[in-house]
Subunit: 458 residues, 2 copies
């Protein structure tokens, strides 16, 4: 008899008032407006560490949502990912008051130079003793592009081409620039670092030119755990080469199987093992001590949900209510003169406006969703976990800190009984070791390992 | 009778093993090699807060020192500002365990986009409740330029022109994009932010194009306290417009008077008060309970000092010992074929090689320097403080945490007796209020205030 498959539990966060459950900040007692205060993050980190969470993941965007109705006003009014603050700066504050929980963070490869980002992640890996991961994104908001000197977004496939080169620069700095035995700290011999074991990277590619050497000495993991969320062909290609954890979503275990299988095929094409990538499904988990508590929470969350907030967040480029519900999305876009949106792709064009509005409205429980008492919730989590390819959940929040506290107090004890969550953290474990049982460095078969010892630097 | 002038006490730090006192990491018991660990910074921050320090300032460079002998090998071997880690990421860790001490940090205007830096500083100002300052630098290391895609350094005056526009973008984001009353957090009315009180900045200048709006809601100080260290004409011009605190140095109070007076003149030209800028002098303070302790420390610090480390740090472009000591620096450079260094300026060309080497060797105690028992040290600090224009000290460190602990345990009590250091922090005081007795925002007469309420955005 083998042990049951362990559940990876990740808290889905963002340094903002309204992340993905729009309208929820209005609930009485919700602490969301304190997102800007250090005390909010200290309390949250200690809370989830008390429940044995694997990690806290902090999403990010670099602009305002201004596509729906052509304005950022609704995003501002409803607090939809604006105001938002820098995500990286939360990690040292939370690391100062915890010992085990890991931290993932979104950072875009499209707008900031790789050299300083490489040092920021090395710094975080040092400060956390190897507890950090990085979610590679290429940014999708048109306003973000305009905040960095561009007239419009970089085309999708070019963004992924840049991302690939960006990652190359980072691996050269993280893996190739300093040898493991470079730092001697030899007081008698007066040698802090042996210069023969440090080298510039002299990267000169199509998008970046970076001399090096890396400024940071090697940290425990060197390369942070690489996260990604993707579905496009270019994204799957990137994931197959680089990603160690994938964020995914879907209404049923089967719905995510195709994406998982495509990424595992891409892993193999890149000389990696099929299970070298873990998959976390976004999870709405609503739990109560009894049915009345569950119903109260469900009703409350539904009541505070902002439908318009979802149109804003999904950047729907027209107002569905302003059109007949039975014409196609393509027709509605044509009537609004938005041929550019049709050409850009990304919108489902052949469904009706009514279907589009309905599917956006239903996105509230579109992802892995369960509401019930602890045993009901644990049963459903186990059903997902035992399905092919799912390794854990990315817990979306409806109320701070109700959602996290409910999970810690009600769900974790039940999952521990079932052997799905460990009773305690292993001491001194890095995030990579926790997720894969090996590490703390990238495995030799990972693309990034090719630069070790200064190999393949040209 | 007026109260005696209060001393501003700032700890001079860097996220690195060897900052400005080269060779010192080799001392037994020195904790410098733990600079990469979060515990180092937690202990340091709590220590200096226990002694009522005004702030901790974290310097930074974005490359390796490779001018002396044309190699970075000596910098690596001696741990001269390499390895180094990101400075901003230390602040949240220290803020998590302190309530009062302020934080200053170096960030360069030459290589990273202003939009994300603006958000980083706003985030820090939120997380620290208004305890942050920013040291504006334009970077001087040739290697740094090569880490950001350039072949060589941007010329000095162009760097300052870029810095001025960079600051303009930042003020527009920090001061102009969000009104004070923009954030309503109106649960009943379902309005987090009033969109009518938030605006894009649409900056389109010679070096930057930034749409906005700023992503962060207003923090306590909005603009962090602006620090600068400068002496060049372009630097003085920048300081007169922007700087609230200047780092300076010199062997005697009189030696810094000229620089102070030039900056005060520049303040006036910019519509500011002469005393709108505070001056902190870099201070080597060596203190012991008795003369024997003082002598032991002085001998030890001298014994561990690396002379070659100073040549590296000062980027001396030739090896003084390889030339006759009585030829001029110009002649030595000519013999090495380094006409480009002569043309670039910045080196004293007409002194002899011997004089250059001697002056570098003496730089150890070139700045404000005193060694003695607490009363001797306090007398000398008071002599400086009562001289025209000096407002405080920037304490250089020889040993972690001996230097800071000595100051807290031996010097602060003596300065408190004399009314030069307050007995306790004022609750809820921002860094700007602590330094100026007004705030927390920039005064109306400061250049950055012109964008308030969206004025002067064009």
């Amino acid at each position: 008899m083998t042990d049951p498959k362990r559940l990876i539990v990740n808290l889905f966060e963002m340094n903002t008032v309204g992340h993905i459950t729009h309208g929820m900040w209005r609930q009485p007692g919700n602490q969301r407006e304190h997102y800007k205060d250090i005390g909010f993050w200290i309390e949250l980190a200690q809370l989830v560490e008390s429940g044995g969470f694997d990690s806290i993941f902090i999403a990010d965007v670099l602009g305002a949502y201004d596509v729906y109705k052509g304005t950022a006003d609704i995003a501002l009014r409803e607090g939809i990912q604006i105001p938002n603050n820098d995500p990286l700066l939360l990690i040292p504050a939370m690391a100062a008051v915890t010992k085990h929980v890991g931290f993932g963070v979104t950072f875009s490869t499209s707008y900031e130079p790789p050299f300083t980002f490489a040092r920021r992640m090395s710094t975080l890996d040092h400060l956390t003793d190897g507890r950090v991961g990085w979610n590679v994104v290429t940014s999708y908001l048109p306003n973000a592009a305009r905040n960095f000197g561009l007239e419009e977004q970089i085309p999708h496939d070019t963004r992924y081409e840049i991302a690939n080169e960006y990652l190359d620069v980072l691996y050269k700095l993280w893996e190739g620039s300093w040898d493991d035995d470079a730092v001697l700290i030899d007081r008698e011999g007066s040698v802090y670092t042996d210069p023969a074991r440090v080298r510039p990277i002299n990267h000169a590619g199509q998008h970046f030119k970076v001399a090096g050497p890396h400024l940071s000495e090697p940290s425990l993991q060197r390369t942070p755990v690489i996260f990604q969320a993707t579905a496009s062909p270019a994204g799957i290609d990137l994931a197959g080469r680089h990603a160690e954890v994938i964020f995914t979503g879907g209404r049923a275990p089967g719905a995510v199987a195709k994406n998982i299988s495509a990424i595992r095929d891409a892993n193999e094409r890149n000389g990696r093992r099929r299970d070298d990538t873990k998959f976390l499904v976004q999870a709405a988990v609503i739990v109560g001590r009894n049915d009345a508590e569950v119903t109260e929470k469900l009703d409350r969350y539904r009541r505070f949900t902002s439908i318009e907030g979802k149109f804003v967040h999904m950047s729907i480029p027209f107002e569905p209510a302003a059109h007949p519900q039975d014409i196609s999305v393509r027709e509605a876009l044509t009537r609004e003169g938005k041929q550019d949106v049709i050409d850009a792709g990304g919108m489902p064009l052949d469904i009706t406006v009514g279907q589009l509005a309905k599917s956006v409205n239903e996105s509230w429980d579109q992802q892995f969703f369960v509401a019930g008492t602890p045993t009901v919730v644990a049963d459903e989590i186990e059903r997902w976990l035992d399905a092919e390819g799912i390794d854990g959940i990315n817990l979306r929040q409806y109320h701070s800190f109700e959602t996290a506290r409910d999970f810690v107090e009600l769900v974790v004890p039940e999952l521990r009984k079932r052997g799905r969550v460990r009773d305690a953290y292993a001491d001194g474990e890095t995030l990579r070791e926790r997720l894969f049982g090996e590490g703390p460095r990238l495995p030799e078969r990972h693309y990034g390992a090719r630069y070790r010892g200064g190999k393949n630097l040209d």
